[in-house]
Symmetry: C2
Subunit: 390 residues, 2 copies
């Protein structure tokens, strides 16, 4: 009974902190998500300590709520994304995705080697510079009602490609870190699986839904279209993570499939309360994971500054160069939208820590960088999009 009360208290504290943070941020004309992340920082283990570090570790109930929150968020983003619109930006998105991986990876490994890591370890560190977190950008774009813009579609498409490349890269550097040789054969297999998954689900799935989407209305329960598409979302999120992709890629594809049915508007409407209840857990817990004590040492602070600048500049450059076909202003928006590393950078950093490649300091710096990029991006993106619409 008492354990149940403790978890209810954490759920309550996180949920209320998110509401207060979002409200303050919005009154300061910042996106609500910034307020939720900062609220997480404030109540997290390294500040007030209302949320303990071991209660938000991987696999804990709060972590699972956070995971479900981001899965549902990307599902709802998928619902607002039509395959036909995405296809129109396919070439640009591909360029942005590839350059957005190559440039950060190159700069990151040069920096890591420069501060004294051997090359093998440098590549692992650099891998943490690579993956874009679609979750945070998507939420900002959604809040601003900008998901239908061409830049948004380029960013989301590029994030999908980005994720495939990051996963591949992680496969390479993990086998390097193990001291083994890179097995090209198994890497190609992983790549083929990932591409196969996205093509089959994204292309075949949307086609099937367009022609035979009525079956989701056949069960007796009036809410069945929602239940069935949520089931598809959970299933694809599982499949994606089983294939080594981020679970949110599967959720995004599920939303894209569901958006081809004629229940689309109803589904968009019904997912709003789900997002209101569950996404705060993702953003608050992301914030709570920031270890503020890193900032107590000047050398770590300096390292954090350098790493963050490299991470931002490299992604900006990749996104900007890749999206030049949209014009300079559009390319700049895409570049900024690609900056957040969020949870993906954190995941790679914790893999590095577990593999013994990362020291505690570089781990803390990489995590803080991932989160800093996520805090810095939303207001800049909002400012750029608002300035443009004036």
């Amino acid at each position: 009974m008492h354990a149940a009360a403790a978890i209810l208290l954490s759920v309550f504290v996180i949920f209320v902190a998110a509401q207060i943070g979002a409200e303050i941020a919005q009154r300061l004309r910042l996106p609500g998500v910034v307020g939720e992340i900062v609220a997480g920082c404030v109540i997290g283990p390294s500040a007030l300590g209302w949320i303990q570090a071991d209660s938000i570790a991987n696999g804990t109930p709060l972590d699972v709520l956070s995971e479900l929150g981001v899965v549902l968020l990307l599902f709802s983003v998928g619902l607002e994304t039509r395959l036909d619109d995405l296809k129109k930006v396919g070439r640009t998105a591909f360029l942005v995705g590839v350059l957005g991986v190559v440039i950060p990876f190159a700069l990151g490994s040069i920096w890591a080697h420069g501060v004294g890591y051997e090359w093998t370890k440098s590549l692992f560190v650099a891998a943490a510079f690579v993956a874009t977190s679609a979750g945070i950008t998507a939420r900002v774009l959604q809040e601003l009602g900008a998901l239908s813009r061409i830049e948004s579609r380029v960013i989301l498409g590029a994030a999908v490609i980005d994720d495939i490349l990051a996963m591949l890269l992680l496969g390479v550097v993990t086998s390097l870190g193990d001291g083994g040789e890179v097995r090209i054969g198994s890497l190609l297999l992983v790549l083929a699986q990932a591409i196969g998954f996205i093509v089959v689900i994204g292309w075949v799935g949307t086609r099937v839904m367009r022609v035979r989407g009525d079956w989701i209305e056949r069960p007796l329960n009036p809410l069945s279209p929602l239940s069935i598409t949520l089931a598809i979302c959970l299933g694809l999120a599982f499949l994606a993570s089983e294939l080594g992709l981020a679970a949110i890629i599967g959720a995004f594809l599920a939303g894209m499939i569901a958006s081809e049915t004629r229940k689309r508007d109803e589904l968009e409407h019904q997912t709003q309360p789900l997002l209101a209840f569950l996404t705060p857990f993702f953003f608050v817990i992301t914030g709570a994971k920031i270890d503020l004590s890193v900032f107590a040492s000047a050398s770590a602070l300096w390292m954090l500054l350098v790493v963050t600048v490299i991470a931002i500049v490299a992604k900006l450059a990749g996104g900007f160069l890749g999206a030049l076909s949209l014009g300079k202003r559009g390319a700049a928006i895409v570049g900024v939208g690609m900056v957040p590393r969020g949870e993906v950078g954190v995941v790679i950093a914790s893999l590095g820590l577990a593999a013994g490649v990362f020291s505690n300091e570089i781990y803390a710096v990489i995590v803080a960088m991932s989160l800093l990029t996520s805090i810095v991006t939303p207001p800049v993106l909002a400012w750029m999009l608002k300035r443009e619409s004036v």
Copy 2:
């Protein structure tokens, strides 16, 4: 990464099993909730084993999802309950609640003593016969659109009183089990806290909301009425469980408070998707906790039969006698509605196991009885309510 995939798989399997179970049940003209519980039995550890016993133990992510599911369910039931309507049935509900505790407790302790338990342990066993699970009955009433009936209000009111009495009883028998004397003073304090909580929240809260309910619309976020009432729901659920009441009592009161605002219809509408996503976890996991291997031994099977019959007859008698003022037919509906023990019986049984008072066999029997009463009740209740409306 792999742990995340495993939990997503469980979430997916439970969610899909619930949809299939509910659909089959509804096509057989049974309430959907029966199908969800049976689906849990089927995929649970003692049948197919798709869900492992340790993944649904207390405090696991799946257990927390299930807890949130039943909290939201009782919140939505509260949303459909007006204090003024409840007050009209106050006297009857009180009688039903008291008789529904006294009769099962008396019969249960006589039975337990009869099969060889000493009196102190018998009282503990009997405590597991007492508490009514509002969750299952509420869902059936909701599915049938019968929440506004006078019998429904009596049942829900009685369940609140029942819960207070069960908690008191548990306090008494736990201190008896410890071998200590019953401290009347501390028991009175617990009782006063519980009654104070319900009166303050239920009576003052609804009054405040009726006069000053507009503040929930003041934040910038258009979904803020939902977010604020959900925050109140989580907060009161925590407070209730901190006071030793079931968390769902707090959630129910939160819903009742929220129903006094003018956003009531909007809130009812917005909670539907939340229920569709989260309540299946509660019902499937309730089903998955049934240990079917108990049924392999004839003596345990016989004990289960006797215990279940006693539990049903005792509650039926208490509910029926208490509600005679509604007429015989109404009293019978109330009696049947009070039968399910559900999660409350399970909680008491596990406390007994932990305290060393229950053997493994009696534990399994009490849990199975709690769940059998939950499976048997919905079709009977649905049949009685449908017959009446013809």
